[in-house]
């Protein structure tokens, strides 16, 4: 997550991060809710009909943000997993575990909305072209990460194995992104890229970016909430958690 500017090492202890995450969570959740309302309003009432695809193109306002998040979350997850393996910081592994379910959710949504968009526009729910296939592999990577972690009883080994999978799997992300350039695909190229002007009307682009921001804030809120559970679970024998539980009584 974009916590740039925060001194990571100070907060990399689960005991200090737990209350901090608890304080930040509601703000991100609130932002996510507000942005979702604005984004949905723009997507349906402000953004005009598309000249070619009519109203069906409105699926784009969740399809593209979900697909972006699915790739972005995976990269962040792999970075945390790598940090966990290299520096042996407990919190990084917990962050990676907390990111995976939401990443899998956005991957599923990208595939689902893609199928519902492909059927009326392309004429098919699914094709085995490079873009669709690599996105499906991304879903399997998320599922593999989560099941590997759940399947191994020893938590340290579980973290190491799933972390390695996350790191190896990261090669898939650039392949997804560039698949539409490297191979002939049914999927169209990117409308938004760094080296050219967006091939999309400004208001459509704005709606899509607001929805992306909403998903982003949702992800942060969700991950903060989940990492708190993760911390309590893995640190349940530590003094501060025991003391916290005493307090709660």
């Amino acid at each position: 997550m974009a916590f740039a500017g925060i001194n990571w090492f100070k907060y990399s202890s689960p005991a200090t991060f737990y209350p901090l995450a608890g304080k930040m969570m509601p703000w991100f959740a609130g932002l996510a809710a507000v942005l979702t309302v604005i984004g949905l309003y723009m997507s349906f009432f402000v953004a005009p009909t598309d000249y070619k695809q009519g109203e069906a193109y409105r699926i784009m306002f969740i399809h593209v943000p979900a697909a972006w998040m699915s790739m972005f979350i995976y990269v962040v997850m792999a970075v945390y997993a790598a940090m966990g393996l290299i520096f042996n910081t407990r919190l990084s592994a917990m962050m990676a575990s907390s990111l995976a379910p939401t990443g899998a959710l956005f991957t599923f949504l990208a595939l689902w909305t893609g199928a519902l968009w492909g059927k009326p526009m392309w004429g098919t729910w699914w094709v085995w072209d490079a873009r669709l296939t690599t996105e499906l592999i991304l879903l399997f990577l998320y599922i593999g990460f989560m099941s590997l972690e759940a399947a191994i009883d020893d938590p340290r080994r579980a973290t190491r194995a799933s972390g390695l999978l996350a790191i190896v799997g990261v090669v898939n992300v650039p392949i997804i992104y560039f698949s539409v350039e490297w191979w002939n695909t049914l999927h169209q190229g990117a409308s938004i890229s760094l080296d050219k002007a967006p091939s999309m009307a400004t208001i459509m682009l704005a709606s899509m970016l607001v929805m992306t921001l909403a998903f982003w804030m949702y992800t942060i809120a969700m991950v903060l909430y989940r990492v708190r559970c993760e911390i309590l679970e893995r640190e349940r024998h530590s003094e501060w958690v025991v003391a916290l539980m005493e307090e709660r009584k």
């Binding site: 072209d129 080994r157 898939n172 049914l186 091939s199």
Partner: protein, 154 residues
């Protein structure tokens, strides 16, 4: 530890195999030029991709059989298809047809998919662009077959 190493190695091998498969098989479609150059499979079914040539679409009386040609502005392949076309199937737009090439040189399609580009805009803007394109074309009439302002790319 051995278990982990084995697992990761397995994943690595799987990934390599998948990537390899992509490089040899993930040519989702062949362009008319590739078909003319005999790069496309002769005996089995393959996908033909390109643009539907302007003015080439003809429907038979049964209302289901359609004749059109697919072009990449270099070569053109005639296609015949019986069935329901996707909503975005239009002249001048991208198309990917699955089928096989007959001895008559006609591509007999079993499935036709529309391929659209990444351009999105309101109809008024598209209209204005088209008008501007037309004005430009009539002023330099020596430039023939200039691509339409929006769309048309594959």
């Amino acid at each position: 530890m051995l278990f982990i190493v084995a697992g990761v190695t397995g994943i690595g091998i799987a990934a390599t195999l998948i990537l390899n498969a992509f490089n040899s098989n993930m040519v989702f479609f062949f362009s008319p030029s590739q078909v003319v150059a005999k790069e496309a499979p002769q005996e089995r079914s393959f996908r033909l991709g390109g643009l539907v040539t302007e003015g080439s679409v003809e429907r038979e009386d049964d209302g289901l059989t359609v004749h059109f040609t697919v072009t990449d502005n270099q070569h053109t392949i005639p296609v015949v298809f019986t069935g329901i076309l996707p909503d975005l199937f239009r002249e001048g737009e991208g198309v990917v047809a699955q089928g096989r090439l007959g001895d008559d040189g006609v591509f007999h399609a079993e499935e036709v998919l529309a391929k659209h580009d990444e351009t999105y805009m309101p109809p008024e803007v598209a209209e204005a662009l088209e008008k501007a394109e037309k004005a430009k074309q009539s002023s330099n009439s020596d430039i023939q077959n200039a691509p339409a302002g929006a769309g048309g790319s594959i």
